[in-house]
């Protein structure tokens, strides 16, 4: 195997944006939609968000309830495992810390399974959705989150590959063990750090 590909030089000598993890490129104004299931139509009248499992106070928020919580904004970059990154995007919603404060995790809780209305799921160590590193968001760049991007609300965990940020989020289940999610049982990396290129199982 040659160490480089004959005839390939990449996009010329442009300086690389330091915000891009290895193997990623800037998708610019586009925002590709990659989803494995049909886009659901969720009615905010009946929408709820649940934190359950190993918590002292299992809690269910309605659409109005969750939007009445103290808000939180993330401005930064997201990185898709298929190699595009979207730089300088702003999401608004609520910090997962705020939701966990209400539900009060038990000391035995070590992991989280995020689950969606479609049956999709993704998994995390609890520490990765705590400490200002995860949000439930409903606005993007000042507009309501479009349905195809997970609206009315999606999870946002921007320090991991974007498949972890489950669209059409329905809740978080706190567990005392790791439970791999939808893609994690289908060959994708269990943790998914873009800076370590943890794309697939074995990376």
């Amino acid at each position: 195997m040659a160490r480089f590909t004959r005839g390939f030089s990449g996009r010329g000598a442009l300086p690389r944006d330091a915000r891009l993890p290895p193997g990623q490129y800037d998708v610019g104004k586009n925002w590709p939609v990659l989803t494995a299931e049909p886009t659901p139509r969720l009615d905010t009248e009946s929408w709820t968000f649940t934190v359950e499992g190993l918590v002292q106070m299992p809690t269910v928020w309605s659409w109005d309830d969750i939007r009445a919580l103290p808000g939180s904004v993330f401005a930064g970059d997201v990185h898709c495992v298929t190699s595009w990154s979207k730089l300088g995007i702003t999401f608004a919603g609520v910090s997962v810390d705020t939701l966990l404060e209400a539900a009060m995790p038990l000391t035995a809780a070590s992991h989280v399974l995020a689950y969606s209305y479609t049956g999709y799921s993704s998994n995390f160590p609890l520490a990765d959705v705590s400490g200002g590193r995860a949000w439930v968001v409903w606005d993007v760049d000042g507009q309501p989150l479009p349905r195809e991007h997970g609206g009315p609300a999606r999870l946002l965990v921007p320090h991991l590959y974007f498949w972890k940020s489950a669209k059409w989020i329905a809740g978080l289940r706190l567990l005392d063990h790791d439970e791999p999610g939808f893609w994690e049982v289908r060959g994708y990396h269990n943790y998914g750090d873009p800076w370590l290129e943890q794309r697939y199982d074995g990376d």
């Binding site: 195997m1 480089f4 005839g7 289908r186």
Partner: protein
């Protein structure tokens, strides 16, 4: 490695592997290009060839004018070049081969569905699959010599061949077969096509839970 033209903008590349691919119909490979300065660019490409136990797989690459990887693969790559690939990957958009399946593809989204059709024909189980592919016109159809058959329908959205009775126009529910009893419907294409097609498939009576979608995004 062999390369052949599919359309004015797409080529099929046959890649020799060090071992049998072992892929399932619908899975993909990642192709990674490395520049002399160490810069790398990777993209995913669905396998078009059937699972056949061989050590070769075919991918079909649509050239995107502003792309980085696809123009290299369609314009620069020559038979005999070495290519770094990884796979097969993907365990969701796969047809196991033993259940009825409806396959709906838009444009280049036909690629993984072609692997399923070829797999069925190869196994003598073509009666299990129905493929509907939507293309602008005859010049945009991949696998034009091989794809047509009793189990396939080609829908032309802008202009069809003279022999085509259906007036050109977008895919409608009437172009689709009945839901596959005990099987799944696989939809592949650009996001806008996939969303429109999934609504139509639901209109034929298919349960949302029985639909699997692969959204192709033109990302270079």
């Amino acid at each position: 490695m062999g390369i052949r033209r599919e359309t004015a903008t797409a080529k099929t590349i046959r890649i020799g592997l060090p071992r049998p691919s072992g892929h399932l119909a619908g899975q993909y490979y990642v192709v990674r290009l490395t520049a002399p300065d160490g810069y790398t660019a990777s993209r995913q490409f669905s396998v078009a060839s059937a699972p056949d136990g061989s050590s070769e797989v075919e991918i079909t690459v649509e050239r995107l004018p502003d792309g980085e990887v696809s123009p290299f693969l369609t314009d620069e790559l020559r038979p005999g070049d070495q290519l770094e690939v990884r796979g097969p990957i993907g365990g969701w958009f796969v047809w196991p081969g033993d259940s009825p399946a409806v396959l709906v593809g838009g444009g280049s989204g036909v690629v993984p569905l072609m692997a399923m059709l070829r797999f069925a024909r190869r196994n003598g189980t073509a009666h299990l699959v129905r493929l509907v592919v939507s293309v602008r016109g005859p010049e945009a159809l991949y696998y034009a010599d091989e794809l047509p058959g009793p189990e396939t329908t080609i829908v032309y959205t802008r202009h069809g061949p003279a022999s085509e009775a259906r007036p050109p126009g977008r895919l409608t529910a009437r172009d689709l077969p009945a839901p596959p009893v005990g099987g799944l419907t696989y939809i592949c294409g650009p996001a806008s096509f996939a969303d429109a097609a999934s609504d139509l498939v639901v209109a034929t009576g298919t349960s949302v839970a029985d639909i699997r979608i692969e959204r192709f995004s033109p990302t270079g």
